[in-house]
Symmetry: C2
Subunit: 238 residues, 2 copies
């Protein structure tokens, strides 16, 4: 535990997936009192919230808020609407250059998540927010880029008391932003993350079994492959 | 109707209060196809959503989405928590210089509302978002200032497809930002806004009767007083 951050509160966006589980472990390792925040937003893969709960418990968070918001009221994404999740795309198609923004992009989702994280942080007196976006294996989402993260941090400081009163500034941490999926997994393993309780699939089948073919499953498999490990979530399914 | 904006869609944040009703009238007058967005966020004065519905209907909006989000999960405001709404403050106390950010401030509320508006706009292909903040009679909220609005507009363009693909940029309109409450009322009256169906009170009594003493009631009364009109919402109550 770093004495610098001990007893400092932080809000961590926790989806139940691989990236945010790693970010939570990193924030805990830095000595933050971690307040996790997850969303049921009408997503096709709402089982990820149960995974988020397990991940939060396994890291001994100070609190875990599960927020309900229904983005199906807007729709417009394969994750929240009657649009098919693309399957079997290779890395060339998934990559930024491959074909633009995929249909699994949920309009403004990270902005919505971060705005709730900001509300939570301001309410509990936290000045640090963690999000697990990464810009390399990022599947083409506009709200996963460094410029976006910088712009939200600027907004956060104008939006809240820190913009008016003499209080500590808000910091938005995106520690995975420059990492590959393999580097993220290696980092998480070093911190003892149990990836067996995480879930990444956009379109899980019965019992939460990952489809193995959506972009998220393909990126995850590539990551474990590069690290040279079996994905413990798959190993458990047998 | 301006030919420039005819058939262009816009998203308008509509609370059911005086300011956002005026903004809706302004957007309609500019020829936008208006999509109103209101929130039940656990506010003490949730009757404002019924007022928003009436206002939306009276202006013939293209659509009106009522979104449920429970900010009581965080609390931290007199509007969403067990904190008393201040009553009987005079303008000196209410003003920016008077005493800092009041307890009716809801942490990051405008950021949350705008992030949903952004999601809605991107989904329906709108590039214009309207919000009724104003910086003069603004009661000390950090997320009602011009710098904040500019920062959100910048974020909006990085957060969405407009930041990646060659599409029209998002514009965040805050047409009341430099107006006094009296100027807002005068503008709305010129556009035929029925202020009798709007509600501003933070702590309404039975049947929605305004308390007449919270900051919002005081600001509204001052506005009608300066315009030299009786508040039609009060006239109806008798």
């Amino acid at each position: 535990m770093s004495p610098k951050t001990m007893d400092k509160k932080a809000v961590i966006l926790l989806s139940g997936g691989l990236d945010s589980a790693t970010v939570l472990a990193m924030a805990c390792a830095q000595g933050y009192a971690c307040h996790a925040l997850s969303f049921r937003y009408g997503q096709r893969h709402a089982i990820e919230v149960a995974a988020a709960r397990k991940v939060a418990q396994s890291h001994g968070v100070s609190a875990h808020v599960e927020m309900e918001i229904d983005l199906r009221a807007f729709g417009g994404s394969a994750l929240t609407d009657d649009i098919e999740v693309p399957k079997g795309r290779d890395m060339a198609a998934i990559s930024v250059e491959g074909g633009g923004i995929p249909v699994t992009y949920v309009p403004a989702r990270n902005t919505i998540f971060l705005s709730f994280a900001l509300a939570y942080a301001e309410t509990i007196g936290a000045h640090d927010i963690f999000i697990g976006v990464n810009a390399l294996d990022y599947s083409g989402y506009p709200d996963c880029r460094p410029d976006y993260i910088a712009a939200f941090e600027k907004l956060a400081n104008l939006a809240t008391k820190s913009g008016v009163e003499d209080v500590e500034k808000m910091t938005l941490h995106a520690p995975l932003i420059d990492l590959t999926k393999a580097e993220i997994i290696a980092k998480g393993m070093a911190l003892g993350v149990d990836y067996g309780i995480t879930t990444s699939c956009y379109d899980p089948g019965e019992g939460g079994r990952p489809c193995g073919a959506c972009d998220s499953c393909v990126l995850r498999a590539k990551g474990f492959d590069e690290v040279g490990c079996v994905d413990p979530a798959l190993a458990q399914l047998g």
